[in-house]
């Protein structure tokens, strides 16, 4: 009788412990996958935002626009030949 208890009890305990840890890891898996999905969504959103900002930058930085702003708003122009002095090294 005693030897039965000696083997059976630890086995029983083992079963209970592993059963609980299965539940525990299952739960962890769910939590982590929820977190991952959220992070993936966040990553996609940030990528999209980045793309939009790049597009906006490209539109604002169009050479033709810079040229127009320089000439019309900032009244910039290339100096004429008489305004230029060439220095020789």
């Amino acid at each position: 009788m005693n030897w039965r208890l000696l083997i059976g009890l630890p086995l029983l305990l083992g079963v209970i412990v592993t059963a609980i840890s299965v539940v525990e890891s299952r739960q962890q898996h769910r939590q982590l996958s929820v977190e991952m999905t959220a992070l993936e969504i966040q990553r996609d959103e940030l990528n999209i935002e980045f793309g939009r900002l790049q597009l906006e930058q490209a539109a604002l930085g169009k050479t033709s626009r810079i040229e127009r702003v320089a000439a019309e708003q900032l009244l910039m122009r290339s100096p004429s030949a008489t305004e230029v002095e060439v220095l020789q090294p």
Partner: protein, 608 residues
């Protein structure tokens, strides 16, 4: 049953009840049979047909869902975006569900900015269906308030739309995609596989309401579309576009194309065609979407003379200062007359290029075998694809030398009877500037191919010196000059060929290299059908080269290789060149006018 056993029981005694033991045994057997049946069924399901049932179960909960990918970006050589895919939202509805809540249609119509009646009619027309697009391709900001209403039966899907921030400036080169984000034209088509990602897939468990409850496994990792870095330079592209447009308006021309190449690598830095179209709004006729710089061929005219001269020098029978008699300005040949625009008298071989004499070119060509002229032209890439891999690219026509008669050979020597694209022309001139090494053209940054020697480096150097005279004080293309820099180039004017002959309409061409002391950029351009009053290449096409390069060299920080000219021009306006020709005086005045830009740069650089 009991009735049958009754007599037996009677024998044992009428007082006794029913046979309990017998019934018990019967029940035990029946229950035992049920148990066996259950175990048998379980064994069948678990052991014999387990796969079948597993599959049935999975089909009810496990779903494979796609991981979407977006198309890769196209950038210029400095990483500036030329084409970007951004997500847009398409709102759709299930009419069957939506029509259960008719009261909310008004809210929906308001959010979608559509008239209520129209929306109602559209949804009701498909009342029995489960899908109708309400509005496609909205920006996420527009779509959000619609989805915030949480109207039952209204959903949104994500789609990608391609945007081209440069618009019409680079439209022909980039091409465009269709509504499914697949390349249809241009580089979008040529590099479609590179740009398109591979959508991935993952297996998940969904509950009854379609929510993902568990990720099971990643079936295929998603491969995002890759970025394509082109050799184009956005700023140069803009410059060429601006100046070509200016020239088209000024000369009332119908169309034009221009290509700028990096001499050492064969990379295409700018490629512009006009008229253009807006790739963000495809409404134009398909003909306007052709990249004519690589798909349309034309007879190049006098720009070919550079290669006739190179072939002649290669035979060793003439030198750059060998004298050729061109008087009286026309020359009968078989049943044909070769003409110059005026009588140039005696010219050296260099003078042939400076003045662009057809007669001198003819005389040189007649002095060499057909095969040799053909071989030299072929080595410079005429009649052969440029290597760019652009969809629909043309190789032009260079016929076999065995069929050339005297007249054919003469006309080829000054650029008729063979055809070429603008890209091929730019490439051939780039080879002259690259020590005689012809490079395959490429649209990819760092995508330079293997070059091949077309002519001896020494001869290429000689050719550069000769071509420099074209933009000099005696030359036919002074307006191609860039103050502060030495320019080598050649003009061309050809009559447009039509079935059965030539029209009285023209093509004006210029091809050139800059700075001539050590060429870095080659540019070829073609202007189609300019105002006939001033159709010579020197007046129509050459100024575009000068103006583009004046700004481009400043932009690209190329040091001036002709500082003396700057020094002479800077302090005061010098006396007009001695040349009496009004045409030339005019171009000097204009060159001074245009001098402002690069001079400022030179002064800046020196003071720093």
């Amino acid at each position: 049953m009991t009735a049958r056993r009754l007599p037996v029981r009677r024998i044992q005694g009428p007082q006794r009840g029913p046979n309990l033991r017998g019934r018990l045994r019967l029940m035990a057997v029946l229950l035992g049979l049920c148990g066996v049946a259950l175990v048998a069924k379980a064994a069948e399901m678990q052991l014999l047909r387990s796969e079948f049932y597993q599959a049935k179960g999975d089909a009810r909960f496990v779903r494979e869902i796609a991981i979407p990918t977006s198309r890769g970006m196209i950038t210029d050589r400095n990483g500036e975006p030329l084409a970007i895919s951004t997500p847009v939202e398409s709102i759709w509805a299930s009419p069957r569900e939506l029509l259960k809540h008719p009261a909310r249609l008004a809210d929906l119509a308001m959010a979608l900015e559509q008239p209520l009646e129209e929306l109602k009619a559209r949804v009701e027309a498909r009342a029995e269906r489960d899908f109708v697009y309400l509005r496609r391709r909205m920006t996420p900001d527009q779509a959000e308030p619609v989805m915030a209403l949480k109207i039952p039966g209204v959903y949104s899907t994500r789609e990608y739309q391609r945007f081209y921030p440069l618009g019409d400036v680079a439209a022909h080169v980039l091409g465009y995609t269709n509504i499914d984000d697949q390349g249809q034209e241009g580089l979008e088509l040529a590099f479609n596989d590179w740009l398109t990602g591979k959508p991935g897939a993952k297996r998940v468990i969904k509950d009854r309401l379609g929510r993902v409850v568990e990720n099971i496994e990643l079936v295929r990792a998603a491969e995002q579309g890759r970025t394509l870095e082109l050799s184009l330079d956005r700023r140069l592209q803009h410059l060429v576009h601006r100046e070509l447009q200016h020239a088209l308006l000024e000369n009332a021309a119908t169309s034009g194309s221009a290509v700028v190449l990096d001499v050492a690598t064969g990379e295409i830095l700018a490629m512009v065609n006009l008229p253009s179209y807006n790739p963000n709004l495809l409404e134009s006729v398909p003909a306007a979407r052709r990249n004519r710089a690589v798909t349309d061929v034309f007879e190049p005219g006098s720009v070919i003379k550079a290669f006739t001269v190179a072939a002649a020098l290669e035979t060793g029978r003439v030198m750059p200062d060998t004298v050729i008699e061109t008087s009286p300005g026309y020359m009968p040949l078989a049943n044909h007359v070769v003409r110059d625009i005026r009588n140039f008298g005696t010219l050296t071989v260099t003078g042939l290029l400076t003045k662009s004499s057809n007669i001198a070119a003819t005389k040189l060509a007649l002095d060499m075998p057909n095969e040799h002229l053909h071989d030299v032209l072929h080595r410079f890439g005429f009649g052969e694809l440029s290597g760019s891999g652009f969809p629909g690219e043309q190789a032009g026509v260079l016929t076999a030398p065995q069929g050339w008669g005297v007249v054919e050979k003469a006309t080829i020597s000054y650029g008729y009877g063979l055809s070429t694209t603008v890209l091929q022309l730019a490439q051939a001139y780039a080879a002259l500037g690259n020590g005689g090494v012809w490079m395959p053209a490429t649209f990819v940054h760092g995508g330079a191919g293997e070059g091949r020697a077309a002519i001896d480096p020494q001869l290429a150097q000689t050719m550069l010196g000769m071509l420099e005279t074209v933009t000099g004080p005696q030359g036919s293309a002074q307006r191609a000059g860039v103050p502060g820099y030495r320019v080598a180039g050649k003009t061309g004017t050809s009559r447009r060929s039509i079935a059965g002959g030539y029209e009285k309409r023209y093509i004006s061409v210029f091809a050139g290299l800059v700075p001539a002391s050590k060429p870095r950029y080659a540019m070829a351009l073609m202007i189609n059908d300019p105002d006939p009053k001033q159709y010579y290449g020197g007046l129509v096409a050459a100024p575009v080269f000068g103006r583009v390069m004046a700004d481009a060299l400043r932009l690209l920080d190329v040091p001036p290789d002709n500082v003396e000219q700057l020094l002479a021009a800077a302090p005061a306006v010098p006396a007009a060149a001695a040349d009496a020709l009004t045409l030339e005086a005019e171009s000097v005045a204009e060159a001074l006018d245009a001098a402002a830009g690069p001079e400022m740069q030179a002064a800046d650089g020196a003071t720093r």
